[in-house]
Amino acid sequence: MLAKWKLREVILMVVLAIVCGGLYRVWDVINALVPTTAYALQAAMTGFWMIAGVLVPYIIRRPFAALIAELVAAAVELLLGGQFGLGTMESGLIQGIGSEVAFLIFAYRMFNLSSCMLSGTLASLAYLFQWYFQYGGNTLDIGTMLLSIIISLVSGAILGGWLPKLMGDALKRTGAVRNYAIAKDGRAMPQ
């Protein structure tokens, strides 16, 4: 399966994931400055950590692209000194699985706004398990908890699904990704 990838797709995947990992790291810093008590804002930030899982598959459109990209992005975030330790890799793994499932549901044939937003949402949903069990989500009172969950899912759809799709489209307009699947598949590009 992986042998079907072209080398330049592998390298692009890594390089994009590195950029995303760098952005995640910046986001980590911002996140640390946001009062941990501002639960709604904290939850609203969630989606940004999912962008690699949509941006990369949206451009190269291969099975496993979402999962591997999110893992590599997490590894880069870790290498750059992220504060979550190996927990980052765990997040990367489960968010990557979440993102991947969305594209799998569409048999890797649909890469449009709906599949991208679904991907971001599922990644957020996957992360919520970790949040609930490991990052103390379970200690919150039920109202705050539900609010956090809903905002996280919406954030996943928007920051984690729509934003990377916009980035991919913008990148397509620059002509830089001419040689990748995104440029060759007109169906998935309603403009």
Partner: protein, 772 residues
């Protein structure tokens, strides 16, 4: 194609007839009508203006098109069996940065050998021979990231030599190099020819090479073959043309302005993370001057220019504009007086449309006449709606100059204004600058092009050895052999001689220093520890699973026991240095203190627990306890991550994936190559920040990552394409790339029973500690 007829009893290596190459998605071929042969031992120069398809033609001959780049090659193309095997055509690319996929010299050379399935025992010997052949006197295990450009190009040649390439293709190998490094590469080319290698060279400034060139294949702007010429004949034909692009003129030498300088540098110094780049710089720029800053690669010329523009803060000293310190001026005011052009014009683009870029605001579909007119002046009118990133290199530079021309600055700072330009657009840009100069503006350019310096500069600054070595007239500089030599400005224009070895084929003195500096250190203690010797991938998986178990702690008992395990792993088996660990992790501890407070002040308390209301906080012991637990288990994974990072070699980790776990080499080696990009990341971000500050669009800092994303991404795409092409050109396709056992391995990452046992034991222990 039928087998070509032998000439002088020799078959050609490559023979093409009416060859045309058309990229996918393009209507017209990029090159066409090419008919020529290259014979063994010949040195052939491929000449033509930029955009004439020289690289395209070379890539088609090497099989890179259509193998790695989609395109159709039509006509007849015959390649001798002796060079049609992988690695028999060695390709040296223009950008020394993006042709390597490993991190160390030996791994790099071995990468090609692995693709050829050379047995491992032979690799060290062949590496040594190849390094000796290019006079690259470095430790085989040195990291090549900080080599000079010239050394990197030599390494690329060594890689090809080790693979026993027969035909060498040089695709503008000196475009990014200073004059001395250029000379070094040229001398290497002459040596290769003497050894009987066949060479195909693409080079803009080829005069110095002509003595070793046998024939010249010329293309015109439309990508058609003009003809094949003997070197002498070509020299006669092109004499007029070469002279036309620069207009050397006797220049009045501008005296160092004694009064009323536009820009003053007072005792300026710059240091990066403790390392002094340059210091003690006192200089002035007067009205109507054209100053050229020259010096070796890595002397800090660009950072000097950036400091002069106030984009970079000097570690000491001040820059004054018209007598006022520029740090005291607002960014808006400063950049109304100072215009700045980056070496890579892309850094300056802020918009998605050429017309928007020109107008510095979003225009949409209606482009005002005035903007179209301004674009027209630079030949960009028909691209008004295109993306700036989609323009050709020449057009991008013209656009960035056009945008700069709309400001009414007094001083123009330009980093390599003619880099990557063909003579026509070079002349256009330089003429613009001449006009500015005539209007009394001051111009400062960083450049490697000594022709440009001689033709335009009224004064030259030589930056080398950490300070300003020379500030004065160009003509006097040319008589100062000592300075020329130290500043790597030595005779790249002198023709190569056919006799005897060229002295400059050796390594430049500065390069010896860098090479020695980057000699590998002894592996650290953690690397030599039992954890350090553990199979890297098994270790990573084990530590990851252990981290997941840690993250599932529900009580202090569990957390305490697992912490004990983590600490034993880190110190007893990992030999980590406690002091270093604390230093590295201290900033994170602060973040965790904040988390702890958040839990203490906000956790929901079950009935029966005490809490205190203060302001809007809900402070409870219960919350503090809960928070402490979350912090403890998360921080355990931070320590595990630290252990993993300090005990693991990244290359072993990636190679191990293929060697022990049969992951497709394309994946593991591709990832490793991509990871090299991480080193450039910081630099790129810094430059984007400066570019935005310059145009007053720095933006709210939280939103910055978003505005940086697009240029950063589009640049990433290009780098990854180049990297992939370079790797495939070294034989990384077919079995060696697709099957774990389709290649040999230089690094031995062996998976043994004890690795697995250690992994299983660690995980079992973690689970037991968690359960009890």
């Amino acid at each position: 194609m039928s087998r070509p007829l032998p000439i002088h009893g020799q078959l050609p290596l490559v023979s093409v007839r009416d060859l045309a190459v058309t990229y996918d998605g393009e209507a017209k071929p990029s090159v066409r009508g090419c008919t020529f042969s290259i014979h063994p031992g010949e040195c052939v120069l491929l000449a033509g203006p930029s955009g004439s398809g020289k690289s395209t033609l070379a890539m088609a001959l090497a099989g890179i098109i259509p193998r790695s780049v989609e395109g159709a090659v039509t006509g007849e193309c015959w390649v001798a069996p002796s060079v049609s095997k992988p690695g028999k055509i060695g390709y040296v690319f223009q950008d020394p940065e993006s042709q390597f996929c490993m991190h160390h010299v030996d791994d790099e050379i071995a990468f090609g050998l692995e693709n050829l399935q050379v047995p491992r025992d032979e690799m060290a010997q062949r590496t040594k021979q190849a390094l000796a052949a290019v006079h690259l006197n470095v430790h085989p295990h040195a990291a090549h990231a900080r080599f000079s450009g010239g050394m990197k190009q030599k390494l690329a040649i060594a890689c090809a030599l080790a693979m026993e390439s027969e035909l060498f293709i040089f695709d503008e190998p000196t475009a990014n190099l200073d004059p001395t490094s250029t000379r070094m590469v040229f001398a290497m080319i002459a040596e290769l020819r003497k050894q009987g290698k066949t060479l195909l060279i693409i080079e803009h400034k080829y005069e110095a090479l002509l003595p070793v060139v046998d024939r010249v294949i010329a293309l015109n702007k439309a990508g058609e073959q003009v003809g094949v010429f003997a070197a002498d004949e070509w020299r006669r034909l092109s004499q007029g043309e070469q002279g036309a692009c620069l207009h050397p003129k006797p220049l009045p030498v501008s005296p160092i302005p004694s009064s009323d300088p536009v820009l003053e540098l007072c005792d300026l110094a710059l240091a990066y993370s403790g390392e002094q780049v340059w210091q003690g710089i006192d200089a002035q720029v007067g009205r109507g001057e054209w100053i050229a800053i020259v010096g070796p690669n890595g002397a800090g010329k660009s950072s000097l220019l950036e400091t002069m523009a106030g984009l970079r803060r000097p570690s000491k000293g001040t820059v004054k504009f018209a007598g006022r310190a520029i740090t005291g001026m607002s960014a808006r005011e400063r950049y109304s007086h100072i215009a700045y052009g980056f070496q890579n014009p892309e850094y300056q683009f802020l918009y998605e449309q050429v017309a928007d870029e020109m107008a510095s605001r979003v225009l949409g579909d209606d482009v005002p006449e005035e903007v179209l007119h301004a674009l027209g002046e630079f030949g960009l009118a028909e691209h008004a709606h295109a993306s700036p990133y989609a323009l050709s290199q020449g057009q991008k530079r013209r656009l960035s100059v056009a945008v700069m021309m709309r400001t009414h600055a007094d001083i123009w700072l330009f980093d390599e204004p003619t880099y990557g330009q063909d003579p026509a657009s070079e002349a256009q840009i330089l003429n613009r600058l001449l006009q500015l100069q005539a209007d009394g503006k001051s111009i400062v350019t960083v450049t490697h092009d000594m022709n440009l310096v001689q033709a335009y500069a009224t004064r030259v600054w030589v930056l080398a050895g950490g300070t300003l070595l020379y500030d004065g007239a160009v003509s006097e500089l040319l008589e100062r052999q000592d300075i020329l030599e130290r500043a790597h400005l030595f005779d790249d224009i002198l023709p190569l001689s056919d006799e005897g070895p060229d002295p400059s084929a050796g390594i430049a003195p500065e390069d010896v220093n860098t090479a020695l500096q980057h000699a590998p250190k002894q592996p650290s203690w953690p690397r030599r520890s039992p954890v350090g010797k553990w199979h890297p991938d098994v270790k990573a998986l084990t530590l990851l699973i252990t981290a997941v178990v840690c993250m599932c702690c529900w009580s202090f008992d569990q957390a305490g026991r697992l912490w004990a395990l983590v600490l034993v792993l880190a110190f007893a088996f990992g030999w980590c240095h406690p002091g270093k660990m604390v230093k590295r992790l201290l900033p994170l501890v602060l973040v965790y203190v904040i988390y702890l407070w958040a839990f203490a002040a906000n956790a929901a308390t079950p009935p029966g627990y005490r809490y205190v209301h203060w302001l809007w906080f809900h402070i409870s012991w219960y919350g503090l306890n809960q928070g402490l637990l979350v912090v403890l288990r998360t921080f355990a994974t931070v320590i595990l991550a630290y252990v993993l990072l300090v005990t693991t070699d990244g290359t072993d980790f990636m190679v191990g994936l293929s060697q022990s776990f049969r992951i497709v080499p394309k994946m593991s080696y591709g990832m490793m190559a991509g990871m090299g990009f991480l080193g450039r990341f910081g630099h790129d971000l810094e430059t984007f920040r400066m570019a935005r500050r310059l145009r007053g669009r720095e933006g709210w800092w939280i939103l910055r990552p978003v505005t940086y994303a697009l240029p950063l991404l589009s640049q990433s795409v290009r780098i990854s394409e180049r990297l992939a092409i370079a790797m495939e050109a070294r034989g990384f396709y077919g079995d060696p790339a697709n099957a774990w056992n389709g290649r040999t391995y230089y690094r031995q990452v062996s998976l043994q029973a004890r690795d697995m046992v250690a992994g299983a034991l660690t995980i079992a222990l973690a689970l037991v500690l968690w359960l009890t």
